[in-house]
């Protein structure tokens, strides 16, 4: 029994576990169930961003945009266009939902993948700071475009989405995402991603098509983010473009960095940790026996998040499970290196 078999067995076990848990999920408190669902969604988001940021080294700050595209596309599909399919399957039943929902999610994912393609192509020649700002810009542009699209509600948001998301679907997708990403990175083809991250010029020199890998990373990462968005839309039943802003992108980035860029187990763990922390902070804000200032800081979770980010970078930049970043002895990549600026060149 080799590694590949172990992975496949693990995937199967995860799917079975998710199905069983989902069957009994009616017994859990509705609030806890919601939190567990969010954990699953965040795992998918963090893993997909890890593919772009951690494994391929493309620092993307616009992941919330892909999630938004997936959320809106799948919501639109399930609200407006699923009637025909349901009719063909004999009305709305558990069985027909189990056919329609994955298709709707897939639709959302494909739409997001398209967005990933559009974002990935101009990003090919950009590095570091420029890539970060351009992806941030794309995230904002996507959000503004959704806000200006009245067909999906515009600034008022999109409501009335059917609540198809269950524990099973969320964790099945999460397990699948992890399986696909890990399998791909472990494969011979997948080594290319790591090469692009480590030294792009050397990669080109040995014949790796960096263009293809970068675009693939963006498209795949966006696809899974889109599916996560679809799952999100079908559990909150109301989405608004302002919920998919830079703040959300940063939260996902923090999960990836905390977990250690380039470690799927790490980012999954960090996703769980941060989601739970976020919810816990909500409670802390409600504890009356704490001094008022502590409560107010807990209520402003972004202050804590930003301090965590700074502290992480100062004290442990590799995150919890990652490897130490290439030290500046390699020369080229630190701030105070050599004469030339590293603006993108022709």
């Amino acid at each position: 029994m080799n590694y590949r078999h172990i992975k496949q067995l693990a995937l199967l076990a995860a799917l079975v576990l998710a199905a069983v848990a989902s069957h009994f999920s009616g017994a859990i408190n509705a609030y806890y169930l919601q939190v567990v669902l969010f954990i699953g969604i965040n795992i998918i988001l963090a893993t997909s961003l890890n593919l772009i940021n951690g494994y391929t080294g493309q620092f993307s700050l616009g992941h919330a945009g892909f999630m938004a595209v997936g959320a809106y596309a799948s919501a639109y599909l399930s609200s407006e266009h699923s009637a025909g399919l349901f009719h063909a399957l004999g009305g709305a039943s558990a069985f027909s939902i189990a056919i329609v929902f994955p298709l709707v999610l897939l639709g959302g994912g494909v739409a997001a993948a398209l967005a990933g393609l559009i974002v990935g192509v101009p990003s090919l020649r950009l590095k570091g700071d420029y890539l970060a700002i351009v992806t941030l810009g794309f995230g904002e542009i996507i959000r503004v475009m959704i806000q200006n699209t009245d067909a999906v509600g515009g600034p008022r948001g999109y409501s009335g989405i059917a609540g198809y998301t269950t524990l099973f679907w969320t964790y099945a997708v999460a397990a699948l995402t992890i399986y696909i990403v890990v399998s791909m990175i472990d494969s011979t083809y997948g080594r290319g991603f790591l090469t692009v991250r480590d030294d792009e010029i050397a990669a080109e020199a040995i014949g790796i098509n960096t263009t293809r890998y970068k675009v693939t990373a963006f498209v795949l990462g966006a696809f899974f983010a889109g599916v996560a968005g679809g799952l999100y839309a079908h559990t909150t039943t109301y989405i608004n473009p302002s919920g998919f802003d830079f703040q959300l992108s940063v939260q996902i980035v923090i999960m990836v960095i905390l977990g250690g860029m380039g470690s799927t187990a790490g980012v999954a763990f960090a996703a769980i940790l941060l989601t739970v922390l976020l919810e816990y902070l909500r409670f802390v804000a409600g504890y009356e026996w704490l001094p008022d200032i502590v409560r107010r800081i807990a209520a402003n979770r972004m202050i804590i998040f930003s301090l965590v980010l700074i502290a992480l970078m100062l004290l442990r930049p590799q995150g919890l499970f990652g490897a130490l970043p290439r030290m500046a002895s390699a020369g080229r990549k630190s701030i105070k290196s050599g004469p030339g600026p590293t603006i993108p060149t022709r």
């Binding site: 101009p122 700071d129 700002i133 503004v144 200006n148 970043p325 105070k336 290196s337 600026p341």
Partner: protein, 302 residues
């Protein structure tokens, strides 16, 4: 046609703010090869400095002394912002000088977020009305165009600061040290330039300009809130890239161009995309002329 000239005038005054902020970005990049994400938030802090200082300082300068009072507020804000900039550099960026650029980039994002949300926490998230520093009237003799006193003041102060900055960069020893550092940091260190001091000075200078921009902006658009620095910060970055990052006159020109374009878009049929136009310009510039208008085209040697 008159509409166009009017838009141009409005655009130039908006461009003046972007130019001031862009100067800070470009100077820090020239010296450190790093985009200081938190720069836009120093701009915001400048506006809030003005908000808190004005009611305390301005009443002391009544009547004809009022312009002196305004200048005092401006200078005080610039000093405070310079100190804040230097503090940020010492606490957050200096320990990471040997680390890969990605680490510092993430730290800069963290500092930016911290300033924004701590600002919300300390100042309150709701927008505040900036106190009136100078009367805002339209000038008399301009014919069909409307030019307000605030526009003139903003433009004049920007011009003054630009001249001052050029003087510092070209005629003082510290300015020469800045240029040396941006050209070749190792050689500069070997020539006896104190890297730490010069970097601190650069940050201080850039932050002072951002603080001034904050006050001027708040005079023209008197509603301030802790998140006001995000969008102008990003747009000023685009302006700096447009002009050629690392190039000081380029940043000024880039700011003016961006301000003009944005105002024209805002006045046209596509006004909802006025914020997106900056990103569009960024993408176009990075695709077709990454060195910017005035930058040197660098060939990457392998």
């Amino acid at each position: 046609m008159m509409q166009f000239w009017q838009q141009l005038i409005n655009g130039l005054s908006l461009g003046a703010f972007y130019a001031l902020i862009a100067l800070g970005y470009t100077m820090v990049y020239g010296v450190l090869r790093f985009i200081n994400f938190a720069h836009g938030d120093v701009f915001m802090l400048g506006a809030f400095c003005g908000y808190y200082l004005t009611p305390r300082l301005l009443p002391h300068f009544t009547g004809p002394l009022a312009p002196v009072g305004v200048t005092v507020v401006l200078v005080a804000t610039m000093a405070i912002c310079a100190i804040i900039g230097i503090l940020i550099e010492r606490l957050a960026y200096r320990p990471l000088r040997r680390m890969p650029k990605l680490t510092v980039l993430i730290t800069a994002i963290g500092v930016s977020l911290f300033l924004e949300y701590a600002g919300q926490f300390v100042f309150g998230a709701d927008p505040k009305a900036f106190p009136e520093l100078m009367p805002d009237r339209a000038l008399e003799n301009t014919g069909a165009l409307t030019v307000t006193t605030t526009q003139v003041a903003a433009f004049a102060v920007t011009l003054l600061l630009l001249v001052g900055l050029t003087f510092v960069v070209k005629r003082t020893r510290l300015g020469m040290a800045m240029r040396a550092l941006s050209n070749n940091s190792t050689a500069a260190a070997l020539m006896g330039v104190n890297i730490d001091t010069v970097i601190s000075f650069t940050f201080g200078l850039g932050s002072a300009l951002a603080g001034a921009a904050g006050i001027l902006y708040a005079i023209s658009y008197p509603s301030i809130d802790p998140l006001m620095g995000v969008l102008p910060g990003i747009k000023a970055f685009v302006a700096a890239v447009l002009g050629g990052i690392g190039n000081i006159p380029g940043a000024a020109v880039g700011g003016l161009i961006l301000g003009g374009v944005e105002t024209i878009v805002a006045g046209s049929a596509y006004s909802t995309y006025r914020d997106a136009i900056a990103f569009a310009i960024l993408i176009i510039i990075l695709l077709f002329r990454p060195a910017g208008l005035f930058g040197k085209v660098q060939v990457e040697k392998v």
